[in-house]
Symmetry: C2
Subunit: 183 residues, 2 copies
């Protein structure tokens, strides 16, 4: 009953995603075209400090021209384990390393046209990395903001945080409860 793929063209190979265009045949017999933004997937860290506060990054998001408050995250490298990627992105973007990374959830950002999957990990036992952050060119103006979970939740509820992965991470963490503060 599903549309059958008749052909596929790779119209563009990008740095972040590729554009694929398939010709398909629907169960009715009609033919159609399906466009896919093909993305390698990504990993997200929800970094909780020993005092229970959460580390966010604020960064310019080029498609919107806005500086958004988000959880640290980034694309998976080829063959990279999402858990390792979450730890790597955390360290690169914030300068903190996680002693523990616990899976929270996977999510499909926009499954109608994009195959991106993001994997969120709760990152705890945070320690400053000796080298500090190592940001990419496009991340040069990234800054850190540290909020309590309640403060972050209030921003989600007031819709001041609009990034999907960040909304989901905070809302899920609020339901599950963060790890108890260290003494």
């Amino acid at each position: 009953m599903d549309p059958k793929r008749l052909s596929r063209e790779i119209l563009y190979r990008g740095k972040v995603f590729d554009l694929l265009v398939d010709e398909v045949q629907y169960p009715s017999g009609n033919k159609g075209r399906r466009e896919i933004a093909h993305h390698p997937g990504g990993a997200v860290a929800l970094p909780v400090m020993d005092d229970g506060r959460v580390i966010f990054v604020r960064q310019l998001r080029y498609p919107f021209g806005e500086r958004l408050l988000e959880l640290p995250a980034g694309k998976l490298s080829a063959g990279e384990d999402p858990r390792e990627a979450a730890g790597r992105e955390l360290e690169e973007e914030t300068g903190w390393t996680a002693g523990k990374l616990d899976f929270l959830a996977s999510l499909y950002t926009s499954p109608g046209f994009c195959d991106e999957v993001l994997h969120i990990y709760l990152a705890t036992q945070l320690r400053p990395s000796p080298g500090g952050p190592r940001r990419e060119e496009g991340e040069a103006t990234m800054t850190l903001e540290v909020l309590t979970l309640d403060e972050a939740l209030a921003l989600v509820e007031r819709n001041k945080i609009k990034d999907a992965k960040t909304m989901i991470g905070i809302l899920l963490a609020a339901r599950r409860g963060l790890p108890a503060k260290n003494p």
Copy 2:
């Protein structure tokens, strides 16, 4: 301090999204390329029946080849108000009309490379539409599933619901409380 756009090329005009490639100059002086999946945005309905249960659609998502459980949603038409679009998509996909549509939240699905914004509305005072659903070709195998909010929350918590807008809608509705059941 933000990257400056030097030029823009529209590499593809699609049915669902366009591919834009910009040449930019970073604050460092270095030049780079930014790819944008340009999307018109969309509207999402969180439809609550008079008995408090929520109407979902299950539909094949072509990029994944999976049948996902989601809230009814769709692209905005040119110039269309998101609230009207949420009501229209609800009716087209489920065959129910909403007497009331209350804004819940906007979200950016993947702001690193895509400018898609989705607007979620709580849809209540539902009545069957005389004509029933009017689905598009790609939606021919769509089916409806009706769940209590608690059942839906359990699916989000067990990560059986993976669609970002649906996770966010259900988690926010759980925090805000759904409208009281009608007598």
